[in-house]
Symmetry: C2
Subunit: 436 residues, 2 copies
């Protein structure tokens, strides 16, 4: 939890640095709002039991609820972040770091703007967060749905199969091309030669030079959708260079993103595996951040179909938690679970009243303090508790101290003790805490 909190703080502070405001949308949506937004993944949605009233489902992500919010409130422009739980009916063991309930951190920019400026900012944010969290080297794969559509068209796939083929290609990060090809031919009814043509394309990846190369492709360059996508990607790389992050980005034609709602640029960040060091478990966590442009989703919720173009990203914090946790296990790092600064102790019996008065003084001064909930705790037990919990300071009150109007202040690590006048205690503690 302490680690989670630090990671979330870091993510949210990055979102705020980019001018986003916080927005919280409800955990459930009308069932009908969620259907047909996710493609094959729709079967993973949790529905609520019909107990009278509307048919409700738990949110599957934070994007569809955001689009619904924009449409319902007729908001045409907004930059927001949302940290919240989402729910998916998955077996929790399939992939490390995937659970049925998990936390997502989303940032989205809604509104009609000049092309690729918000899109580039989203990628910049992903870079800032992944660098900031020091997860090791990473790469962001970028593609565009329109380029994929263009490829599908020039390969001769009927438009009705675009989404299904997209879903298959999306599995290329977990399955070999051979298996994906088999799925496209055997399950989705693609002719083998069409599948092979697709294979030639989707196995390409590179930098901005690959964009130029695709412009030269005699067939693809005749396709209007593909051309638009390629033009935007070129502009995107220009802006990413100005942002100083272009070397982290790879144009990857195998990136498809399973969800139906993307309409333009799509991206997904992966950690680059460093060979596991001796004694370390190898980490295998898939993508740690992803997103894209979804210009049609808000219009699906608007009674008149008014569109609001959107682009956004989602940080896969659960996977990041897993990685950081695993790392800490590997290096044997111990993390404090509480923030307690001072422990109020006594070596004597019948000193509960004095301890209670003393700790209330500390709390009222904003100092994080604990005591034993016992009338007569042993001093050794109190000392051990401080050591186990990593509490840095101990204040000790007994008969002697009470008589002299002092309190003993003990550094738990160094075991040094000094007597301090009671009226100066709070100031002395605050001084020590600010120094450490």
């Amino acid at each position: 939890m302490v680690v989670r909190e630090k990671i979330l703080d870091m993510v949210v502070s990055c979102f705020k640095r980019h001018g986003a405001k916080g927005l919280d949308t409800p955990a459930f949506e009308l069932k009908e709002m969620l259907t047909e937004k996710y493609g094959e993944d729709s079967m993973l949605i949790y529905d609520l039991k019909d107990q009278g009233g509307e048919l409700l489902s738990l949110r599957y992500d934070l994007t569809v609820p955001f689009a619904r919010y924009l449409a319902m409130n007729k908001v045409k422009k907004m930059k927001r972040y949302h940290v919240g739980k989402v729910w998916r009916r998955e077996s929790p063991t399939i992939v490390q770091g995937r659970y049925r309930e998990f936390c997502q951190c989303d940032f989205d920019i809604a509104g009609q703007f000049d092309p690729m400026i918000p899109d580039a900012e989203c990628l910049k944010i992903m870079c800032e967060i992944l660098s900031g969290l020091q997860l090791g080297d990473f790469l962001i794969k970028v593609n565009d749905r329109r380029i994929l559509d263009g490829i599908f068209a020039v390969c001769g796939i009927p438009e009705s199969k675009f989404h299904a083929i997209c879903s298959s290609i999306d599995k290329l990060d977990k399955m070999s091309w051979k298996d994906v090809r088999h799925e496209m031919v055997a399950k989705k009814g693609l002719a083998p030669e069409v599948a092979d043509r697709i294979g030639d394309y989707v196995q390409c990846h590179g930098g901005v030079s690959l964009v130029e190369q695709m412009f030269q492709d005699s067939e693809l360059s005749q396709n209007q959708h593909a051309l638009e996508g390629l033009r935007d990607l070129k502009l995107l790389f220009e802006y990413l260079t100005l942002f100083g992050v272009a070397e982290k980005i790879s144009f990857d034609l195998s990136l498809a993103r399973g969800l139906d709602y993307y309409t333009g640029v799509i991206y997904e960040a992966v950690l680059l595996q460093t060979s596991a060091r001796a004694g370390e478990e190898p980490l295998n966590v898939g993508s740690v951040a992803a997103g894209g442009r979804y210009d049609g989703l808000v219009g699906m919720f608007d009674p008149k179909g008014h569109k609001v173009p959107c682009v956004g990203l989602s940080i896969g914090v659960e996977r990041i938690f897993s990685i950081v946790e695993q790392r800490m296990k590997n290096v044997g790092e111990k993390i404090r679970t509480t923030e307690t600064e001072v422990f109020v102790a006594t070596p004597q019996k019948n000193f509960l009243q004095e301890r209670l008065k003393l700790i209330a003084e500390l709390w009222d001064a904003g100092i994080k303090a604990e005591l034993m909930y016992k009338n007569n705790p042993k001093l050794l037990t109190q000392l051990r508790y401080c050591e186990n919990m990593g509490i840095p300071l101990m204040v000790i009150i007994g008969e002697q101290e009470l008589k002299e109007g002092v309190i003993k202040l003990r550094s738990v690590a160094s075991r040094e003790e000094v007597a301090i006048k009671r009226e100066n205690l709070v100031a002395e503690i605050q001084k020590r805490l600010s120094e450490s």
Copy 2:
């Protein structure tokens, strides 16, 4: 959202000051885990549709999941806080500040300790939070389930009706005694003279002196349950006096708390109505924090019935949000929704590239910055945006500045502009922000 965040921060920092660690339990529980824990309120639980696998329900509060967690993990001692959503099937309009989905902030102490020390700390925490939030004057009503049970027994209510009568009495904060009496007689089958005897008790409230007075009650003082409750309350008042908060506490025999799981001391904080000032909407929000001791709940989840005594509190942050929002509306206060510190602007066309390079420098230095997502925005539009959003600083780059290697730094409020060497810009901005 900004207000919410500040309130939650304040609550969590108080929980941490008292040595609690954060713990997050899942949003849904096995349906069977939640049944028979909430009494009459059980009908407000949201169930999930049976989609294969276990029958699940959404959590109704954070207490039952915590107890389940303790039992499953065989944890015998823990001080934790949890900020999370809970769900109840209520019509959202009934009471101001009650919704179907809402945020709860819970603090609980589990473990076998000497009596009333953790209980007193819970009440101290409630006082610290309510004082800290400056919601105006408040009072915490305290009672004990064992005293209520004793009263029911001496009034001649059969034990099988204790829970039902408890639920009726719990409504005394919203209904008159006459209506509650009617419910007890007409719906719950109590004899009118028994109801009247209860009425004599539950209309009493006062300080520690009322505890003494109840000790003198010839019938009640013969009841073992009541005696235990009274002894604990006396001790509780002693500790609360040491904590300096006794004057905020009222022993109130009408306090019952509807939930079935309480076994000992119970409490509920209410704001004291100050007469609405001219032009202000009167605030009506019910209780803003509550809790109590539940020594039997963990045992209900343990296969062997091992008990772990617990005491805790829940801060009704949704109601607190409503109050603070209403107040801000009343005084016409405007709150910034973003934290952006600097806006990157240009007065000229074709300066997008320079703006992008500049803003990346600011982001990379940790400065919160925004720009317009337009190739050629008008300067006036950019200025107005800063004024509307309350952004304090503006940096302006144009041909002249580019040639001279400077950036114009403008204070939005004072409209003063100075030219600053580009290499000193970040330092100058950081200096100004730290001064303001």
